[in-house]
């Protein structure tokens, strides 16, 4: 129990750290968002009155008259109650815009984690078992080569070949815009169809995990208890899964926790290229319009998701590794 609370405390501190970055960054940068907004307004021939400036200051929570630490406290309060500001691109509360994108990103990333980790774990176990054979060389070298292709390149090429040129997959949207969201087969299949190509791209990019699983498994297969298993006459399949893989999976969960930030980063570029309406797409729109409240909200949302994934990984390790439990109790 104490372990869980320590972790939760750490995640809370990390979240505060992200909030602090978010607060101080715009204030440290040359030129503030308000004067850049005013500049754009003046360019388009808009009226600038003291009321406009006051309204903008209220909008951004950014002011020159209030001391910095008071601004910071106010910022923290509004973050905690879910007031993340108003998007200047969509003219809606940031949290609503982000919420719309988050569901699709969670679908994409969640599906990716399920497919990719199942696939790479089993492949890793298999090639470690067959190490030194041609199947091993083929799969390991192949996965290294495929996973080291940059995400931008992989996504662009797949999109160009299969969506734009051959037309096998849709070129945008999360589902057919002619359909209404409902739990019907028609709608669900449309969602899956639109999800397929971005998902394939992500799974291909994640093939590098085969290497991690393989080397964990090889390390485990060198241990004495494996020899003991064989000496006792335990069947191969049981040695492979119950003796070797069970231990080899544990470092994979740690590496999952370490790479989850990169996975969300990868989903960003995939969503942009495949026009998939997730968080990445929202971020791209915000980027193009220099919508600072939305950009900052995006960083906070990402941090929350990564922290939650880390917490889930902690709990999984706790449940799967008896050594961890006994050491802590």
């Amino acid at each position: 129990m104490r372990y869980i609370f320590t972790r939760l405390g750490f995640y809370f501190l990390a979240f505060l750290f992200a909030v602090t970055i978010n607060f101080f960054l715009p204030r440290m940068m040359p030129g503030d968002p308000i004067s850049s907004f005013l500049g754009r307004l003046a360019q388009s021939g808009g009226q600038i009155t003291p009321e406009t400036i006051a309204a903008l200051e209220a909008l951004y929570g950014y002011s020159t008259s209030v001391p910095l630490w008071q601004q910071f406290i106010g910022y923290l309060q509004s973050i905690m109650v879910g007031e993340w500001g108003v998007s200047t691109r969509f003219f809606q509360p940031v949290i609503e815009v982000l919420g719309r994108g988050t569901q699709w990103t969670l679908l994409l990333v969640g599906g990716y984690l399920l497919i990719s980790y199942t696939l790479t774990t089993f492949l890793g176990i298999y090639v470690a078992w067959k190490r030194g054979t041609w199947a091993d060389s083929l799969i390991t070298v192949g996965s290294v080569v495929i996973s080291s292709i940059p995400a931008v390149v992989m996504a662009l090429l797949l999109y160009f070949a299969f969506a734009s040129n051959l037309g096998w997959f849709p070129t945008g949207y999360a589902y057919d815009p002619a359909l209404d969201p409902a739990y019907t087969w028609e709608f669900v299949s449309s969602v899956l169809y639109h999800l397929a190509l971005p998902m394939i791209a992500m799974v291909l990019l994640g093939m590098g995990n085969v290497m991690g699983m393989r080397s964990n498994m090889i390390n485990q297969l060198g241990e004495d208890f494996i020899v003991m298993g064989w000496a006792k006459g335990v069947r191969d399949r049981k040695v492979m899964f119950s003796y070797g893989a069970r231990n080899a999976i544990l470092p994979m969960i740690t590496s999952f926790a370490m790479s989850v930030g990169a996975i969300f980063g990868g989903s960003l570029i995939i969503e942009i290229i495949f026009n998939y309406p997730g968080l990445g797409q929202v971020m791209f729109q915000a980027m193009l319009a220099r919508d600072y409240p939305l950009i900052q909200g995006y960083l906070l949302m990402m941090t929350i998701m990564v922290l939650s994934a880390n917490f889930i990984a902690d709990m999984l390790l706790f449940a799967l590794d008896p050594r961890l439990r006994t050491a802590l109790d």
Binding site: F10, Y11, L13, A14, F17, A18, I21, N22, L25, P26, M29, G31, R131, G132, V141, V144, V145, S147, S148, I149, P150, A151, V152, V153, L156, L157, Y159, F160, S164, N165, M211, S215, I218, N219, G222, M258, G261, A262, F264, G265, L268, I269, I272, M283, F284, M287, L288, R290, Y292, I295, Q296, Y298, L299, M302, T303, V306, L307, N310
Partner: protein
Amino acid sequence: MKFLKSLKAMFLSNPKASVGASMVLIIFVLCFGAPLFTDYEPNARIARPHQAPSADHIVGTTRMGRDVLSQTLYGGRTSIMVGFVAGGFVMLMAMVVGISAGYFGGWVDNILSFFTNMVMVIPSLPLMLVLAAFLDQVSPFVIAVIIGATSWPWGARVIRAQTLSIRNRDFIHAAEVMGERKRRMLFFEVMPNMMSILASCLIGTIIYAIMTEATLGFIGLGDPLSVTWGVMLYNAQQTSAIRIGAWWEILAPSVMLASLAIGLALINFSIDEVSNPKLRAQRIMAKFRREQKVEAKKKAAAIRNAGSEPMEAKA
């Protein structure tokens, strides 16, 4: 001749590393010797827009009528430089933090590890996007610095773990007893023993930095006047090269990016294989098994021959 022979032997003994190294070498020669391979300036309008590949323009022209080949080669210089500068920066941070945390232990380790973990759980790509957005279209060098500042924790953690395991070996205790100074211990006792980890970490970060530069450039955060692979992809996307079917504009930087990354990854892969004793043992075992098989075949053939000879004699 002798040189060629030894080269061939090296190639055969470690094909993955050799293929990777030659890929990287070819790209380096192409990019840094760009004037030898193309007559055009990367930013000069020299033809009509969106020309398909032809003898004059081997990989066609862009929307702006610029030669794609020369853009790819000259742009590669910047992309590679960003990769190496950022990679070096990340390594420096990771080494300082990782080695001091692992070596000094105690409260130094606690503080540094806490800080490392904190930065690690903040997703680095979104953080970079926020930084770059506030800096507004930044030069390639600033992109390298941003990548460096946000991406060091992973390396720091790996290096710390390795330092911890070296720290408790006998030769370090022996050096301590002999009264060696701290600086000498760090640089002459600890560091040489983790060279392979440092090397593979450095190559890993360079791959990561080159990819990230391409990503940031593609999203439109790079300076639009600079020529890098990321900015080329951004321009291609912005001028809807895909919809028009101008595949050459996308393909040229993509192929270069992918081959550089794959080449570096293959080198990294074989560094791992050489430095990890368990993986190395497995290669030696595979060779041993192959030889055993050949041996067994020879024996079988010998027995068969021996078996058939008397028959012939009888006949």
